[in-house]
């Protein structure tokens, strides 16, 4: 296994705090705090459930634990601003579809039912589904500095040699 000594969870969180000045990196709903930038609390629960379906736990954390919802939330106010409306509408569509098929909001459904709803959504080839798949993958496999891939979880899963940049023990966590 590669060594990730310089990049432990505590240190990573510390760097994140220093970077963003608030407890934003730990804001995926597991920890108290109203720190979503874009999503409402309700929307954030739906986003977490969708992300977790797209990349479930197993051999390492799933998307929600890896901070993917935080990545999406953060980028929707930065580099992905132009997709805000698509997310508002898309999340409403997901809940509507869930009600039609199973009589409840997406977060109220069982795991299998949620999978069904997403497969429906994929079949309809909605732009929103393509967006959230792409953004979830970015948040999970991309650089932790953008708010996802907490603790380099996916890079550890893949066994990517550490440090990410040869010759650099310190790794900038601050996003630009």
């Amino acid at each position: 296994m590669p060594k990730w000594n310089g990049f432990g969870r505590r240190k990573f969180l510390g760097m994140g705090l220093a970077a963003s000045g608030a407890a934003t990196l730990v804001s995926c709903g597991r920890v108290k705090g109203p720190s979503w930038r874009f999503f409402t609390d309700d929307q954030s629960l739906t986003i977490q459930a969708i992300c977790e379906q797209l990349i479930p736990p197993g051999r390492g954390p799933g998307a929600a634990e890896a901070g993917v919802p935080n990545y999406i939330d953060r980028q929707l106010t930065l580099h992905l601003k132009r997709h805000q409306q698509a997310y508002r509408q898309g999340l409403a569509t997901v809940d509507n579809l869930s009600r039609q098929r199973f009589g409840g909001r997406f977060v109220q459904l069982s795991w299998v039912q949620q999978t069904q709803v997403l497969m429906d959504l994929e079949k309809r080839a909605t732009p929103f589904f393509n967006l959230i798949v792409a953004h979830t993958m970015q948040g999970f496999y991309g650089d932790p500095r953008h708010g996802g891939n907490r603790d380099g979880a996916s890079w550890k899963m893949l066994g990517l040699p550490f440090p990410p940049v040869r010759g650099r023990i310190k790794y900038e966590s601050k996003a630009s």
Partner: protein, 550 residues
């Protein structure tokens, strides 16, 4: 206050403009080099897998500024859309000192003799403006050599029996083989192919005062951590500045070429870093903005004598936009193929560039640069779901066990794949933006499919137990290999510049970038753009010494 008159003003500090600046300044011409982007250094080389010039889902690292520089893309159904620099249809090439050469993969190919004589070799292709270059490989050979030795190219193409003759070998040896190389090389030999080390504008030993490659995984799309990768920003541009004859001004967006009553160029008008409109007068104007922006600049230069744009009397400016279609074959192995030795791309074959039955051209094939985890997601077989546990499991198992072989298919030039000045959309400074439209020639798609099968066969021979292929879509894009929009030729009715890269219409305006390529070879174009700039600058200087181009 008026700016001091100079001998030459160069628009764009990329591959072509950088070489032109060095050549002209060294010959004693006072020169101003204008660049719309910034001058980045190794200190700016943040390695960001989502925000760089190759994977730009969160933006481009080295320009252009997204909000200020939109473009219009017209898709196959005629739908037009304003696009950002991070989007595929935009056809972006970096906007910074060094241009594409600041963050490219740095493959340093010479085109082959037949690449300059495509029409003579293959005859007319219906629906294509396939044509010979007005110059031959032999005309360009000394300048290829100059680029290789002056800037520094590593590699070893002695095993490439198809290559055009060269007088000198490459100045630097190749990198030692990585794992993919050791898997692919014997397989190529078993297939009767002729594998060899890719020539690269990358130091493998100390050269020109810069260090050797440290073989990190962050190469194509990123700045070089140790300044070992070679671009105009760390070679010819510093030399140009050191002559004392060249001034580099960054953050300067050129609006139009200035023309006098007789239609001769007198300089350029540009917006400086404070958005003030300045006039830089000059005896000669060199346009080096890359194929999309150079065409746009000429089209936006209107005059009583050139109502449809400078050099555009016969409607050829912006036409024949070319790039490269990239078919790829992926292979999944039952052993590791990843050894973390960058840049990744190392081994090539040139067996399929020409002589493919029934096809007009072909492509070089090479192994791909290292795939970072997010980039790897584009390399997943169609049989694997796009999401869910199965997707995650495939990524986990396959990440270090795949090889990708890909290559740049020489595109058939098409008159209607074109750059125009958009009639409605303007950039931040109020200048009409580039509008890109068209569809790849069907024969380009046919060559793509053929090359993909060859790449897949190579992968199978190498021992992959699962293989799959991908093709570029038919939608036309310029991308980083953009070329062709200011075609070079002897006939002013069917080309934009003459054999010296001088506008047919106005002899004190030169174009020095990929725009002048008649066809774009089955190779990465950087070394050819550099060599052409050396060649064209040489001719400019000869003319200058006789007449001062007045």
């Amino acid at each position: 206050m008026a700016l001091k008159h100079v001998n030459a003003v160069i628009v764009g500090a990329g591959a072509g403009g950088g070489v032109a600046a060095k050549e002209l300044a060294s010959a004693g011409l006072s020169t101003v080099l204008l660049e719309r982007g910034q001058w980045y250094s190794a200190a700016d080389c943040r390695k960001d897998d989502l925000l760089n010039q190759r994977t730009c889902v969160l933006g481009n690292a080295f320009g252009p500024d997204e909000a200020r520089n939109p473009r219009v893309h017209v898709d196959d159904d005629g739908r037009e859309q304003v696009v950002l620099a991070r989007e595929f249809g935009y056809s972006n090439v970096a906007a910074c000192v060094g241009g594409g050469t600041f963050s490219y993969g740095a493959q340093a190919w010479r085109y082959m003799e037949k690449d300059f004589r495509m029409r003579s070799t293959y005859g007319a292709v219906a629906g294509s403006t396939l044509e010979d270059w007005p110059i031959t490989y032999d005309d360009l050979e000394p300048y290829y050599e100059k680029a290789e030795w002056e800037m520094g190219v590593s590699g070893d193409d002695s095993g490439n029996i198809f290559k055009a003759p060269r007088r000198r070998p490459l100045p630097m040896p190749p990198l030692s083989p990585n794992l993919e190389y050791r898997i692919l090389e014997p397989a190529a030999r078993r297939l009767g192919l002729h594998p060899f080390d890719i020539p690269m504008l990358r130091n493998t030993v100390q050269y020109n005062g810069r260090s050797a490659c440290m073989r990190c995984r962050w190469c194509a799309g990123f700045a070089c951590e140790v300044n070992a990768r070679t671009g105009t920003h760390n070679t010819v541009i510093p030399v140009a500045l050191a002559t004392g004859n060249c001034e580099l001004r960054t953050g300067c967006m050129v609006k139009e070429i200035l023309l006098d009553d007789r239609g001769r160029a007198t300089g350029v008008a540009y917006f400086d870093g404070r958005d003030e409109l300045r006039r830089q007068t000059a005896d000669v104007v060199v346009v080096s903005g890359s194929a999309v922006e150079s065409a746009r600049l000429l089209l936006n230069t209107k005059h009583r004598l050139f109502p449809n744009g400078l050099g555009n009397r016969y409607d050829w400016v912006g036409r024949n936009l070319q790039s490269h279609a990239y078919p790829a074959a992926m292979g999944l192995f039952d052993h590791d193929t990843y050894d973390d030795l960058g840049p990744g791309a190392q081994l090539a074959v040139s067996d399929y560039n020409h002589g493919n039955p029934g096809l007009a051209g072909g492509a070089m094939l090479a192994n791909e640069f290292i795939r970072l985890p997010y980039q790897f997601l584009d390399r997943i077989p169609p049989s694997v779901p796009r999401w869910g546990a199965a997707h995650k499991e495939f990524v986990r198992k396959a990440y270090k066990r795949t090889v990708v072989v890909t290559g740049p298919v020489q595109e058939m030039p098409v008159f209607n794949i074109r750059v125009q000045a958009d009639p409605k959309v303007k950039d931040y400074w109020g200048v009409p933006v580039a509008r890109i439209s068209g569809r790849k020639h069907p024969h380009t798609m046919e060559i793509q499919r053929y090359i993909a099968t060859k790449a897949e066969a190579w992968m199978k021979e190498a021992g992959a137990n699962l293989t799959w292929t991908t093709l570029h879509p038919p939608m036309a894009v310029g991308g980083q290999h953009q070329a062709g929009t200011c075609r070079m030729g002897d006939d002013p009715k069917t080309s934009v510049v003459n054999r010296f890269c001088q506008l047919h219409d106005v002899d004190n305006v030169f174009v020095m970038d990929g725009s002048v390529h008649v066809t774009n070879g089955g190779f990465n174009p950087a070394l050819t753009i550099l060599a052409m700039a050396y060649y064209s600058s040489d001719n400019l200087i000869k003319k200058w010494k006789g007449t001062r181009l007045r």
